[in-house]
Symmetry: C2
Subunit: 251 residues, 2 copies
């Protein structure tokens, strides 16, 4: 099954004809009414990750609920819908993603960029650079290091913030200018680890690979992420809508 | 009725208790399936206006479908959802709002910033500076000049782009650091003109004042637009969702 969906992406990148199915974002965006929202008054939500989360955010003030500090990607889009749909909750939403980061780099700045913010929800999207930089021989961390570091980060967080809820996002790839088929097999091993950790830590899990695989039925991979790693505006909105759906489906 | 809704805003600014009604953005965001979308393949959509539309957009490249060039306000948010939900339409979405603009300043740059882009849809949000700058005695255009210039702009556009569809957005105010009750009566006259022109030109009409009046039932005006003119992230998302609902309800 894994192979099937991986194959699907690469087939699509060669220009599968578009299917005559309507692609309604209603169905992807079925936020429940506020009374079903898992968010409580005063909740702090933190987005963490690499360049995909960073999305050119302002890094001097790093304010919550601020359009400069939230960047222009899925974190900003998710935050803006949460702030819109929870007007009476006094939410604080931070983005602390940093371009190029691997999991050990999150760990290095975790006190400042996670624990000190006292988040109720921590959303993490990490892993593509752990594979990519190793592949390019500019980093020597193995996949076992990735798993060990990621688990260590989550354990450390739970120790200091026992009530924290994790939202673990699956790293993803599409066929693009920086990604070819040879990524699929080895990168799937990194993806599996993030799912395994999500289960171990009883976390929310956002299956972004499946989300993008579905999207490429409607437009070629380049529409959603030209280089195969960094999403377009449409790709970021796709992510935000999926992320919101997962958050709001939590009882 | 006008007085009632105006009164409501100012009452809310003094801290009406929040109502225990759920505020679901589902109901505000009921985009129909793509087959009902008014957008055709290759459509060009242009956002025009003042600082609210501008929202710190990049002004050197001014690219379509680009997160820097679209700014970080309702135009970006509306564009990202349209690009997400119409992946096979090859839409081009531009933002050419400029901070501080009044209607005559749109006119001065209309050839370059509208006609040359050959838009199929032109969304215009203008008027708050026409009133504000006159009020502050830094501009001497009367309300009659506003009406004459705005009508002239729409006529000129129709002459050069006979098939263009207008989306006329109502300028709005909330009680805030730059706006007090004395704005309400005279500004309502500007709002009426935009509605009158929307009717004259058989345009889509986005009633933003009513949208914000509804929103202040759920959080104080400062949550949606701290200074009473420029929306917060939540206020911009409120606008984008309303704008999308109007666009997608068009048959």
């Amino acid at each position: 099954m894994k192979l099937t969906r991986r194959n699907f992406i690469s087939k699509s990148s060669f220009g599968l004809p578009l299917l005559p199915i309507t692609f309604s974002w209603n169905s992807n965006l079925s936020l429940k009414k506020e009374k079903h929202s898992p968010l409580k008054e005063g909740d702090v939500i933190l987005f963490q990750g690499d360049s995909i989360t960073d999305s050119n955010r302002e890094k001097t003030k790093e304010l919550p609920n601020d359009s400069f500090s939230l960047g222009s990607g899925y974190a900003f889009m998710g935050a803006s819908q949460l702030l819109f749909s929870n007007p009476n909750k006094k939410l604080k939403i931070y983005n602390r993603g940093i371009s190029g980061n691997k999991v050990f780099q999150l760990d290095e700045r975790w006190e400042k960029d996670c624990v000190n913010l006292k988040p109720d929800f921590v959303s993490i999207l990490i892993g593509v650079n752990d594979y990519w930089h190793k592949r390019d021989k500019v980093y020597d961390g193995t996949i076992d290091v990735f798993e060990k570091d990621y688990r260590g980060l989550l354990n450390k967080t739970k120790e200091q913030l026992p009530l924290v809820k994790f939202i673990i996002c699956e790293p993803f790839i599409l066929m693009g200018s920086k990604v070819d088929k040879s990524w699929i097999g080895p990168f799937a091993e990194y993806q599996k680890i993030t799912k395994k950790l999500a289960d171990e830590f009883n976390s929310l899990w956002v299956p972004f690979q499946e989300t993008f695989n579905h999207a490429v039925e409607f437009a070629p991979p380049s529409y959603w992420a030209p280089d195969g790693v960094h999403p377009s505006i449409a790709g970021n909105q796709l992510m935000a809508n999926k992320w919101l759906k997962i958050i709001n489906s939590k009882e």
